[in-house]
Amino acid sequence: MSHTYRVHGLTLQCQFPLPELARREVACPGPVDISVRTGLLPMTDTATPTSVPYLHLVDKVAVFTFEDTGRYSVSDGNDVVVDAKANADPALLRLHIFASIMGMICHQRGLLVLHASAVAFGNTAVAFTGPPGAGKSTMAAHCLAAGGRLVADDVLVLSFDEKGGVLAHPGMPNVKLWRDALTSLGRDTDGLRPDWFRAEKFHLPSDDVQTSIPLTRLYVLDTDATAGDGEYAPLRGQVAASVLIANTYRVEYLDAANRRNAHFRDCIRLASEIDVVWLRREAGAARLPATAAAVIRELRQTSERARA
């Protein structure tokens, strides 16, 4: 019995259940975009190595080898075969599907995918990107606490609509948070599910959007001892483009997906379509509520100006 889910704007059908996506399970699927099944992947000596140690190409099929759970093949952006080790932990296996495998699927399908978290206010969304630990998820969680709705956490899939605007697609319906960030939100860690890799990170189920939504702005998070609650600077031109390239999710898979050139053009296009804003704040969780409040205030002013 297979299970069907909507995630990243795509319909995914899987032979085994994906409890992380339980909220996104759909009963009567339309056409299926991605099929995930178990099967045997023959070992071959014609596999071509890539710049990524655990990723090989067999013809155009991407084959991932993970010591912990087994081998996974991804072809044509729509077909995933999982050849799991006998003792593979199912939760860890699913984590690979949601991260590496989904990253490759998106690149093979020609979707722009950022390492970012996004939140909707009203009918538009904003996103947060930046290096690990910069506070992407935490900023998103504070925006949720202030009445925003989750679009995506960590992995944000974007596409261009017919009018040239940018659409953000609903991703995983949970926000991953560190314990100190949870404390700053006034939430306890009891009853939340620990993340596999990082025992100190917790999944926070959140109010999420179900449909794709226009993305207007991307904040690039950075920390600095003197920045206080937050300093803003608009980024344009080559800097904005380089931020989008650098914060592309699994950017190291582009060559294996034969998408380097097209991805470059998409980033250029995205840089001209949305506001890219540098947001520098003091490190640590103490100032986060104030930074988030300032971001939300600024967003409200922007949307009021847009209406006026």
Binding site: R236, V239, A241, F264, A271
Partner: protein, 100 residues
């Protein structure tokens, strides 16, 4: 090989170049790298879409920016040297005596 005032330079074909807010961004698969140019760098890049003599290039920039000739020449040639080292531009051999 370095760039002098009498060199004729032109964009290399290989990098994919695109413009964002008037600034040029390039992907060179050969170099396995991305390059971004600032405002004036982008302008120079656009001016060498066709082969162009460096002295000629400096002259038109000097007029536009009302800049001191010597500093400008130095900045332009070292910028072009950098592009040349990264194989983003190439020098065009010109038969001597050919008028442009």
């Amino acid at each position: 090989m370095t760039v002098s005032l009498s060199s004729v330079v032109v964009q290399e074909d290989e990098p994919i170049a695109a413009e964002v807010d008037g600034e040029v961004v390039m992907l060179s698969e050969r170099a396995g790298a991305y390059f971004g140019l600032d405002g004036i760098g982008s302008e120079i890049w656009k001016l060498i879409a066709q082969p162009r003599r460096v002295s000629d290039l400096c002259q038109s920039l000097a007029q536009r920016y009302d800049a001191d000739g010597e500093t400008l020449t130095h900045d332009v040639t070292s910028f072009l040297d950098e592009l040349l080292a990264r194989r983003l531009v190439r020098l065009v051999d010109e038969p001597s005596g050919k008028s442009r």
